[in-house]
């Protein structure tokens, strides 16, 4: 960076969120991913002569749910408009989208970067149909068009240009990604294209300078690539400007192999989209009662979950983890209900042993061999002293492979912690008899011998001695 100029990057994001409906936004064809080409493109999706769009009410509900979750305004009247341009993956020669009067306006995404929390204001979110897909290398001299995806409902979320680093942009995206999955409006599958981001990047010589010319980077489909692409683009623009050049307003693609952005070839100058309200679709009027019903059904949101956990003393990392996945939160809630006095124990086990085992086995939360209820059973035995921490881990492994409950495993493996004073006393006596020298050494002042003797009793008890009780008993027998 030039010593004389303190460049500020200005970044805005446009995210296309594929809504989780079973059928398309304007037709009854299926939206499932991965089908054979064009088997999920009906006559309406293909734009065949005389076909007409019919709007899917579930897409509206998901848009409203999103809008409420980010504190945005829901438009009582919104309009579908045609965005006209020619491209092979756009069957009608226009995309049905929203131009003036979108369904959602405003709202804020709360993002975290390290310890810092910041808000990213949204301009709007609007409904539109997705285009199809092209394959360019499967046919000699030709491109193949698959219109299965054409007509899939999208919510296009547009942020204000209020981010100033790639890291901030990625933090915003991650927060948005978590949120849309959390509230069930999108499955967030980046590989399948359910969540696609375009970044608008410009730089200016200082926070008070007028905005510079921006470039749009398209089709970024991983958080890592997004960060690299934006970083590269910022550097590129600064370099150009410092060398006395000008930034051309253009669309660029990210080349992951080279780690660079480059101009899209054959992209014409700014399209004239000739937006006008779609005459085949009357205005969308939203009944306030519908909005209230959706509001009432909104789950607790990640931000609130995180705060709640932190206030209970759960550590930051665990709170973050639990607040990133609705299913994890449900699991947490099950544990919390069973053990209301043990938030930290629950969080430790949930995020540690349990999640660790799930990740190692590459299983989803819903497929866990040890259910949250079963885990709660195990944690209860720790709290009531039947199991030491160490034995509990052993028990957990056994539960994971056998599917048994904690009590069943404890019974079968004889894992119950020994707390019976007589039984423990017997073990202590026998060890002291076995190691008279170490006992005498301890009595003479060698504190370290206690450790050794505790270890021996533990071994003799096959790890089942209650450590605290054992310690107390041993010291009583040894006289100090």
């Amino acid at each position: 960076m030039s010593a004389s100029t303190s460049w500020q990057a200005v970044i805005g994001l446009e995210i296309h969120v594929q809504l989780s409906t079973v059928s398309k936004i304007f037709s009854g064809a299926a939206t499932a991913f991965g089908a054979e080409p064009n088997v999920q493109a009906c006559a309406v999706d293909l734009g065949l002569p005389g076909t007409l769009p019919v709007f899917n009410g579930a897409a509206l509900d998901l848009a409203i749910r999103f809008g409420l979750a980010v504190g945005a305004d829901i438009a009582p009247v919104s309009i579908f408009a045609r965005k006209n341009y020619f491209y092979p993956d756009l069957p009608k020669g226009y995309q049905i989208s929203q131009f003036e009067q979108p369904i959602v306006s405003g709202g804020v995404i709360r993002a975290r970067l390290g310890e810092q929390v910041f808000g990213v204001q949204l301009v709007r979110a609007h409904l539109e149909e997705d285009a199809g897909k092209s394959v360019h290398d499967a046919f000699h001299g030709a491109s193949g068009i698959d219109l299965n995806r054409a007509g899939t409902p999208l919510l296009e979320v547009v942020t204000e240009p209020v981010m100033h680093s790639a890291a901030e942009a990625v933090a915003c995206l991650k927060a948005l990604h978590t949120l849309v999955r959390w509230i069930g409006v999108c499955d967030g599958n980046l590989q399948e294209g359910s969540f696609r981001c375009d970044a608008n990047v410009s730089v200016r010589p200082g926070a008070d300078a007028p905005l510079g010319t921006r470039c749009e980077i398209k089709n970024l489909n991983s958080f890592r690539f997004i960060e690299k692409a934006i970083d590269y683009e910022i550097e590129r623009q600064i370099r150009v400007l410092e060398n006395g050049g000008v930034i051309r307003q253009e669309t660029r693609l990210f080349d992951p192999a080279r780690g660079e952005t480059r101009t899209m070839r054959s992209k014409e100058d700014a399209h004239d989209y000739r937006y006008f309200p779609d005459p085949d679709l009357p205005p969308l009027i939203v009944d306030p009662a519908r909005i209230e019903a959706i509001r009432a059904a909104l789950p607790v949101l990640p931000d609130a979950v995180r705060s709640e956990l932190l206030s209970l003393g759960v550590n930051g990392e665990h709170a973050e983890l639990i607040a990133s996945e609705r299913e994890l939160y449900s699991a947490w809630q099950a544990l919390r209900t069973a053990l209301p006095g043990e938030p930290k124990l629950c969080a430790n086990w949930l995020c540690g042993e349990w999640l660790g085992a799930l990740n190692a086995a590459e299983l989803a939360v819903s497929a866990a061999p040890v259910s949250p209820a079963a885990l709660a059973g195990l944690l209860t035995r720790i709290v009531d002293g039947a199991l030491s921490g160490r034995m509990a881990k052993q028990a957990f492994e056994a539960m994971w492979t056998s599917g048994e409950s904690a009590d069943q495993v404890i019974e079968r493996l004889g894992l119950k912690q020994i707390e019976d004073g007589d039984a423990l006393g017997g073990l202590v006596d026998s060890v002291l008899a076995q190691y008279p020298k170490q006992a005498a050494d301890y009595r003479a002042g060698q504190d370290k011998m206690l450790q050794f003797l505790v270890g021996q009793v533990m071994k003799a008890s096959r790890g089942q001695a209650n450590p605290a009780q054992l310690n107390a008993l041993l010291r009583a027998r040894l006289g100090r």
């Binding site: 006559a43 293909l46 734009g47 065949l48 002569p49 005389g50 076909t51 007409l52 769009p53 019919v54 709007f55 045609r82 006209n84 020619f86 092979p88 069957p91 009608k92 020669g93 226009y94 068009i145 219109l147 004239d272 000739r274 937006y275 006008f276 005459p279 085949d280 679709l281 009357p282």
Partner: protein
């Protein structure tokens, strides 16, 4: 005019009774239709003639069961070529049918052909067809009108009892007037547009042409009503129009004469025929009053902005990729689009696409499309105010009878200007009919009736009442006398 010049009094109701008691059969009707189609082949009214029209299934008692009819070639018919009068769709055989076709099929009506028309419904003469112009049965040197010229000509030639048609700026009413038959364009939203190839979505409406109001009522009743596949189709119950028609009395009917529709440029003989029709109605007890439509002067301009704008977008799907004409030997995608479209669309269609693309383009949207839609509201409000003083409006359908083939082809604006009495109705979405009310020599003159939204019943009833007192709708083309 002698009785030999008139078709016998015989409605679809009479026909249905004859079919019900075996006095005639669908096969016999089909044979008559076949002979009549052969006889009028010179009119070029058909693009596709079904070689073997399917016999209807068992009669469900529907009044259209067994009745031969034609579709304007704008309506998709599964397995039967549908061209919209265009080279772009010259070989298009849709795998689905229009909603109105499903209704007629379910009723047992028998499709015998797809009628010729102005390409993509853009035109007022049926000369802008890729398949040649349609001649007027009353005088084959003249146009049948457009864009539903083929439908009107077939009915006038008595080759079918009724035909489906569409009306965006007058395309049912004007050909009906030129061919001496009766046509109805219902309220926008009354008939589903699913499977009707789109021209200008907010103006297009499907309707029917037949030889009488009674027959129009029967045919329209069959195709009208809600269809979930069309988001602009109204979920309103369809009244029993025949019942309304039978019980109607002209006494006390208030008829408005919209001053702007009697402007200069209307032939004297047309005005006289319409005046005579008015007298017939007055004698039967109707009351006539002058009304104004102060903003009607903008109607042509508003129409020729809105329609081309919507058309330019509706026709973007014709790109040679998934269906329709595809140019040969293209070297890249741009050429595929540009050559397929330039080859596939005729001159009038290209003109309107260009006007529409221009009017929607950056910087012009407010001044053209948006402005036209505001004016449209003013025109609709004018009609609403007029209807405070009357039950329906009466005017000439067109300024002149049918003009000669080729006469207006070089002057698109002259062609547009002749739509002066019809386009305002589409802008307001109102129902309207044209019915014959006289002749200038051999050429029919049409009378337009305009009703309030959803009031097709009154229109049909008034038209029927007029037709019970007159015989203009029964006058046969000379060649059939």
């Amino acid at each position: 005019m002698s009785d030999r010049d008139l078709a016998p009094l015989h409605s679809l109701r009479d026909l249905a009774a004859e079919l019900a008691d075996g006095a005639t059969t669908p096969a016999a009707l089909l044979e008559q239709s076949r002979a009549a189609l052969d006889a009028c082949a010179g009119l070029n009214a058909l693009i596709t003639r079904l070689p073997a029209p399917a016999a209807p299934g068992a009669s469900g008692g529907h009044p259209l069961w067994g009745v031969p009819y034609a579709h304007k070639d704008l309506f998709c018919t599964a397995g039967v070529r549908t061209t919209a009068g265009s080279k772009m769709l010259a070989d298009f055989v849709p795998p689905y049918s229009a909603h109105i076709h499903e209704r007629l099929d379910a009723a047992g009506a028998v499709l015998v052909g797809k009628a010729n028309m102005d390409e993509f419904a853009m035109g007022s003469s049926s000369e802008h067809s890729a398949f040649g112009p349609v001649a007027n049965p009353h005088d084959p040197s003249r146009v049948a009108g457009g864009s539903s010229g083929g439908s009107a000509a077939l009915v006038a030639a008595r080759a079918v009892r009724f035909a489906t048609a569409s009306d965006t700026g007058g395309s049912i009413r004007q050909p009906a007037a030129f061919c001496g038959v009766t046509g109805i364009k219902p309220t926008w939203g009354r008939v589903s547009r699913y499977g009707m190839i789109a021209y200008a979505s907010s103006l297009d409406q499907a309707g029917v042409i037949a030889t009488s109001a009674v027959d129009c009522a029967i045919a329209l009743q069959c195709i009208a009503g809600h269809d979930r596949r069309d988001s602009t189709s109204q979920a309103l119950a369809v009244p029993d129009w025949l019942d309304q028609l039978d019980r109607f009395d002209l006494q006390g009917l208030r008829i408005g004469l919209p001053t702007p529709m009697y402007g200069e440029g209307i032939d004297v003989e047309v005005l006289e025929a319409v005046a005579e029709a008015r007298r017939v109605l007055e004698q039967a007890g109707a009351k006539v009053v002058d009304v104004d439509l102060p903003n009607a002067g903008w109607a042509i301009a508003a129409y020729y902005v809105i329609a081309p704008c919507e058309a330019s977008s509706n026709l973007a799907r014709y790109d040679g990729v998934r269906f329709g004409h595809r140019a040969e030997g293209v070297r890249n995608l741009e050429e595929l689009y540009t050559r397929s479209r330039t080859e596939g669309f005729g001159a009038e269609v290209q003109r309107r696409i260009l006007i529409g693309s221009f009017a929607l383009s950056a910087g012009y949207y407010d001044a053209y499309y948006l402005k036209a839609q505001r004016v449209r509201r003013l025109i609709a409000e004018d009609f609403a105010r007029a209807f405070e003083h009357c039950d329906l409006l009466l005017s000439p359908t067109t300024p002149t009878p049918a003009f000669r083939i080729g006469e207006k082809l070089d002057d698109p604006l002259a062609m547009y200007a002749a739509d002066v009495n019809t386009v305002a109705v589409n802008l307001a979405g109102l129902p309207a009919m044209s019915l014959p009310c006289g002749y200038v020599g051999r050429l029919p003159v049409g009378l337009q009736l305009i009703g309030k939204s959803w009031d097709e019943g009154l229109l049909l009833a008034a038209a029927h009442a007029y037709q019970r007192r007159t015989a203009w709708h029964r006058v046969l083309p000379e060649s059939l006398r």
